[in-house]
């Protein structure tokens, strides 16, 4: 009898494990919703890929991110980027600002987050997201930034000794009225430019660069986007050392078509993260 009572009580509450689970589900929603119910456990949630590319990545058929860039395949799942570059990616919040929009019920103010992400070794991404809460906006912007990660080509200014340190050639990026030009610089120059492009170039892994900006550089959003566009162009420009013809290889979808047809069940609609 004495044993039954405690057992019943234990059964009632479901014991330690499920109480942790209860807490994990975050019963009455408290302050700071989305506060990561059962915070530590969140990180280990299984990733179920919904795109073909995600399925290939998950099952290890694609070994590096560069193989995806080689075929210019659009990346729609941020977990793919996490898979290849999880730890090395560092994100930085460039700005949180309130924005207002006019609705029938009056003015609505929201927080807008600008986030840049990069591994300081050849990859850079930019994201923007608007939301009622700061943390939600930042999280959404980080996901969008991950989806926009592009490779950065670095080159030499003069002698080809050591590692590449600057942009391989002059590149221009444009967004809105802002035009940003990146110009190769000798080793040791550092990044010569305004704070915003400087931060982006550092996160991309470019050590030395001159910048030249035109237009209304006060619109820092456009300024950042233009810099990002310029950096992305480094791999779009065909320089003489890339003239060599390479043998064509099959795209991953074609190469692993059988594997995909067996293992991948396309999902019609994905619940937004």
């Amino acid at each position: 009898m004495a044993d039954a009572a405690p057992a019943a009580r234990g059964g009632f509450r479901g014991g330690f494990g499920s109480r942790g689970g209860d807490r994990g589900r975050g019963g009455p929603r408290g302050r700071g919703r989305g506060r990561g119910r059962g915070r530590g456990k969140e990180a280990e949630k299984e990733w179920v890929p919904v795109t073909k590319l995600g399925r290939l990545v998950r099952d290890g058929k694609i070994r590096t991110l560069e193989e995806i860039y080689l075929f210019s395949l659009p990346i729609k799942e941020s977990e793919i980027i996490d898979f290849f570059m999880g730890v090395t990616l560092k994100d930085e919040v460039l700005k949180i600002m309130p924005v207002q929009k006019q609705t029938r019920a009056g003015q609505r103010t929201r927080f807008k987050a600008f986030v840049a992400i990069g591994d300081s070794n050849g990859h850079i991404g930019l994201g923007v997201k608007c939301s009622k809460e700061v943390a939600t906006a930042i999280r959404g912007a980080i996901i969008l930034a991950k989806l926009s990660v592009v490779p950065v080509r670095r080159g030499y200014w003069g002698n080809k000794i050591g590692k590449p340190h600057t942009v391989p050639c002059k590149v221009t990026g444009k967004c809105g009225s802002v035009q940003v030009r990146l110009i190769p610089a000798p080793r040791g120059t550092g990044i010569v430019g305004a704070p915003v492009p400087k931060k982006l170039l550092q996160m991309a892994g470019i050590e030395d660069c001159y910048t030249s900006a035109r237009g209304s550089t006060g619109t820092l959003g456009n300024f950042a986007k233009a810099t990002y566009a310029a950096i992305a162009k480094t791999y779009a420009y065909l320089t003489p050392d890339l003239w060599k013809e390479m043998p064509l290889t099959k795209a991953p979808y074609a190469q692993y078509a059988e594997f995909l047809s067996k293992n991948h069940r396309p999902v019609t609609q994905r619940p937004d993260a």
Binding site: R35, G158, T219
Partner: protein, 494 residues
């Protein structure tokens, strides 16, 4: 009995107030705690402020209630929605010169309300008292309130940015007493992971130091954070909080509203009301880019800031907001026409020249004759007199050391117009005319040697025939099918 104003406390009846919230009643409405807590702006100390209509002083915003009661009893003036005014003191300072006993009728809306006898709820028959309501019905007032709200929100976000980036935060953990250092986010993370105290995501919080102080106070008094009951000692308290899952902040406790950024978002709304807001369709019809539910439009044009980088003059200390203004200044004040001096120099030469000039000016040396002077003023006088505001000898400045910026974060270098904005297709855009570079020889006419060199490096047979126009076209058209080798692969091969 003669109803006299001094003996009776005059209060407008419930019908008179246009909004359900009452300014003067206190405990019943739980909006007032919101008012008190959120009425912080710039964390300035409460200051003595004169009343709007008389010269009595009150300490605002601390004694806001006494002030409001005074306004009501002495002047029959009611300020609507005081919890919507972010900066109460400035609000009063703004209105004081504009309001006087004379023009109360114009500025405020006038209400008539029955009078209550002191201490009773009876309305005195036939008595009507005039009350003046200062509210945001007046567009000026509305704009004023909005601007205070906006300013406060920006101040909050600035503070939050600081707290997000500051790595010098040191504090002992509240529970396990380990010394934590780093950012506030790591501290909160530790509280959450190790002790399961969920205060919310660090990104949503502001004034984290004070929040933790508050929590600490609760713990020291052996009071539960959530239900506010008292316990005998620390261990009992911790057991209670663990069992009842009270290791978090009570959402109904408005004392903690001020620590969450979402409460500052909309004027007069706390987080519950913001959450309940329905996202209606946007007015104004078509917007640039598509708007989803939360407005996640990639509209990059929103973020505007006044000045990104100031440009310092080459010769003196004057700072200019824009590069064009600096050029003008050079022309007017120092007779140095930058564009004509620079003329046909290419980008790298311009950079070297600017760095050379900055170097010389810092050493108080003339840029042309290299004469040294005692200070900057003498130097300027000399340069004006001997007309040395021109392009110096090439071998003075065309040196490799001047590739590196003399001045840290030199705004002048960031807008050296290249002149040839669309020159990305021309051969010499790949590199400058520096004799060091390998590719110098690889320019048009010398490509053969370069290609052979590259071929030797890559040590693979090269089928690509050398540089003819037809071939360049072919490489253009077949570019899409060529696969670009990436940096790492190239490195590995070498």
């Amino acid at each position: 009995m003669e109803p006299s104003q001094s003996s009776k406390k005059l209060r407008p009846g419930p019908r008179a107030t246009p909004r359900p919230r009452k300014e003067s009643s206190s405990a019943a409405s739980n909006k007032l705690p919101v008012l008190k807590q959120l009425n912080r702006y710039n964390d300035t100390e409460s200051q003595e402020t004169e009343c709007l209509l008389c010269s009595e002083c009150f300490s605002l915003p601390k004694n806001i209630d006494t002030f409001l009661t005074h306004l009501l009893s002495s002047h029959h003036l009611v300020i609507a929605d005081t919890h919507c005014i972010a900066d109460f003191k400035s609000y009063i300072d703004y209105w004081r010169p504009k309001i006087s006993l004379a023009n109360l009728n114009e500025v405020c809306t006038v209400m008539h309300a029955p009078v209550k006898e002191l201490g009773t709820n009876h309305h005195v028959e036939g008595e009507q008292q005039e009350f003046f309501l200062l509210s945001d019905i007046l567009p000026e007032d509305c704009a004023l309130r909005r601007s205070y709200q906006q300013q406060r929100l920006e101040w909050i976000l600035q503070r939050q940015q600081f707290e997000r980036e500051d790595t010098n935060f040191k504090r002992g953990c509240l529970i396990c007493r380990t010394q934590m250092s780093g950012t506030r986010a790591t501290y909160l993370q530790h509280l959450g992971d190790a002790h399961n105290i969920q205060l919310g995501r660090a990104d949503n919080l502001v004034f984290v130091d004070e929040l933790i102080d508050q929590i600490e106070q609760y713990l020291e008094k052996f009071q539960c954070i959530y239900c506010e009951k008292f316990f005998t000692d620390r261990l009992v308290l911790r057991e209670h909080m663990r069992k009842k899952m009270h290791k978090r902040i009570n959402p109904g406790n408005h004392l903690f509203d001020q620590y969450y950024a979402v409460n500052y978002l909309e004027m007069g709304k706390n987080w519950q009301q913001v959450a309940d807001e329905k996202e209606g369709p946007e007015l104004g019809g078509y917007t640039s880019g598509s708007e989803a539910a939360d407005g996640d439009v990639a509209d990059w044009g929103d973020w505007n800031e006044a000045t990104t980088m100031t440009v310092t003059c080459l010769f003196c200390e004057t700072q200019c907001d824009q590069w064009e203004i600096a050029i003008q200044h050079l022309k007017q004040e120092h007779k140095f026409d930058f564009h004509s001096v620079v003329g046909q120099l290419d980008f790298y030469q311009k950079v070297k020249l600017v760095n050379y000039i900055r170097n010389q000016v810092e050493n108080k040396t003339c840029i042309v004759c290299e004469e040294k002077f005692a200070n900057g003023v003498d130097l300027l006088i000399h340069m004006d007199n001997s007309n040395h505001n021109k392009l110096p000898d090439k071998d003075l400045w065309d040196r490799a050391e001047y590739y590196f910026p003399t001045k840290e974060d030199d705004g002048f270098l960031c807008q050296l117009d290249d002149g040839r904005a669309d020159d990305e297709g021309t051969p010499d855009c790949v590199t400058g005319e520096d004799p060091d570079t390998q590719l110098q020889e690889a320019l048009v006419g010398g490509r053969l040697s370069e290609v052979i060199e590259l071929k030797a490096e890559l040590s693979q047979p090269l089928q690509l025939p050398v540089n003819t126009n037809a071939d360049m076209q072919k490489s253009e058209s077949t570019r899409v099918t060529h696969h670009v080798k990436f940096q790492d692969a190239e490195e590995k091969e070498k």
